[in-house]
């Protein structure tokens, strides 16, 4: 069974290990979850003017990519600044994967609702944090069983709520 490290798995790992395991095993969350729908809408309706939107590579789904002068910018659109730690890892992963393919880019976490943009760079600290996170996630997703459910503040808004707590 393919257990792929993806940007989303890295992001969810910072919130809930069970969620990361499920996503890595292609057991997707409930699609009619209202928070997932809101997220989808924000993606579709924000920054419509930017030239290139949504590029998909294995494990990567870039929301937006554009040039700013000499710099290629990879943008990740978020609903709120709630999970910045995870969003940073997600972007670092995209930047590192692009670098392997010869594309040097800078990252931006974009939060239209809060009119915020946060720069993310693949510097030494970034590489170190990313490698550490990848190592942890690989350990997690190679576990044969789903990690036990643990209730946290995010559960009530999670697309796996019904799966976990039924």
């Amino acid at each position: 069974m393919s257990k792929m490290i993806t940007g989303t798995v890295l992001l969810s790992f910072t919130v809930c290990e069970r969620e990361a395991w499920l996503i890595a095993h292609q057991i997707e969350p409930e699609q009619s979850n209202p928070f997932i729908e809101i997220g989808r809408l924000i993606h579709a309706e924000s920054y419509r003017k930017n030239q290139i939107r949504e590029i998909a590579l294995p494990g990567i789904k870039i929301d937006m990519i554009y040039s700013q002068g000499q710099v290629t910018v990879v943008g990740e659109i978020k609903k709120s600044s709630k999970f910045l730690k995870g969003a940073r890892l997600q972007l670092l992963y995209y930047l590192s994967e692009l670098k392997k393919r010869g594309v040097h880019a800078a990252g931006k976490i974009m939060i239209p609702k809060e009119k915020k943009q946060i720069d993310i760079n693949l510097d030494d600290q970034g590489i170190k944090d990313l490698n550490q996170a990848i190592e942890n996630v690989e350990k997690l997703v190679s576990l044969p069983k789903i990690p036990q459910k643990i209730r946290n503040a995010f559960c009530t808004k999670c697309g796996y709520e019904q799966f976990c707590w039924s």
Partner: protein
């Protein structure tokens, strides 16, 4: 909120920009696609590929029934939540006779326990205590079954005892259950049971579609002929709670009367108006909510059906053992 759409009239169903349009002799009706969770068609309706493509894009299932109200089949759009791991595990649990038997037993156990809970609602002065005891002894014997066939036989026997109480649950002398008869049902109560069960089967199938399970791999019902069977398994749990109770209520409130049926070749069928009445109450029932201790909030019966599928997923992933919903 997306809701099931029932179509009883004859006409053409097509895509009209981003809505679904039903064109009948009495006019055109637009149904915004975002408000549609599934479609159940009873009328003689023409459809085309453009509509099916649109429904696929929106992950909307269509269930077809013939003019007698019998289930014909389902347009099942491309799988959209496939998980290779879940499907393999599901097959593994089907092929392993011990694992399959365990799940099958739990479905029967849940079904019979819910039958008892339904009987208890009518057990004034303890007049059905013997029936309850008899079914309870069947439940005790389930553990000794060494094959799914034995389980099915035990369930059949227990269900027969239960059906014999039906005449006492309905307060109208116009209805008599006698024996369970299908295809076509031989009397009114049987016609209602058949109709209600097929509504439940299709509803459960629609809910399974929103999970990662493959509806073709059931455990109690043998997987063959590429038919959907997992929805039959899960429906067993809910039949006594949803369908049977609804039938007793509709008859006792005189919402459905003997005159609501007509003879068809070899049996009895519900007239269209009664079908509409039944469907409306059925949908209301699915919207009823109860408190769910795991989720710590109220959920609808429809959601309960879906969570039953999630519980089976967790069982086959060896996360948590399945225990059927008891209502």
């Amino acid at each position: 909120m997306a809701e099931p759409v029932y179509i009883f009239s004859d006409g053409t169903l097509k895509r009209k920009e981003n809505t679904i349009m039903l064109e009948t002799q009495s006019g055109k009706k637009h149904i915004p696609v975002e408000n549609v969770s599934e479609i159940k068609i009873f009328g003689e309706v023409d459809i085309n590929k453009r509509l099916l493509e649109f429904l696929t894009q929106k992950n909307i299932i269509v269930h077809f029934f013939n003019r007698y109200g019998y289930y014909v089949g389902t347009y099942y759009p491309r799988e959209f939540l496939n998980s290779g791991m879940i499907i393999l595990r599901q097959a593994e649990f089907y092929l392993n006779s011990v694992k399959r038997l365990e799940l099958a037993r739990l479905f029967v156990e849940g079904s019979l326990k819910n039958i008892i809970n339904t009987i208890k609602k009518y057990n004034e002065n303890g007049r059905f205590s013997n029936t309850i005891n008899a079914i309870e002894s069947h439940i005790k014997n389930l553990k000794q079954c060494s094959s799914v066939e034995q389980l099915m036989a035990l369930e059949g026997n227990a269900r027969e005892i239960y059906y014999h109480c039906f005449d006492n649950f309905v307060k109208s002398g116009d209805f008599h259950f006698e024996d369970r008869s299908k295809r076509p049902p031989q009397n009114e109560l049987n016609a209602l049971v058949s109709f209600g069960n097929s509504l439940l089967y299709t509803t459960t199938l629609s809910e399974i579609y929103k999970t990662h399970l493959d509806p073709r791999i059931g455990f109690l019902h043998t997987t063959n002929d590429r038919r959907f069977t997992l929805n039959l398994d899960i429906s067993e749990i809910f039949k006594p709670i949803i369908v049977d109770r609804l039938i007793f209520t509709l008859i006792n409130r005189k919402q459905i009367k003997k005159s609501d049926f007509h003879e068809i070749t070899g049996g009895i069928s519900l007239k269209e108006n009664a079908r509409r009445t039944f469907v409306q109450s059925f949908e209301e029932k699915l919207k009823d909510t109860i408190y769910h201790s795991g989720l710590k909030r109220k959920v609808s019966f429809r959601t309960l059906i879906r969570t039953e599928a999630y519980k089976i997923e967790k069982h086959i992933l060896e996360d948590e053992p399945y225990s059927p919903y008891l209502g």
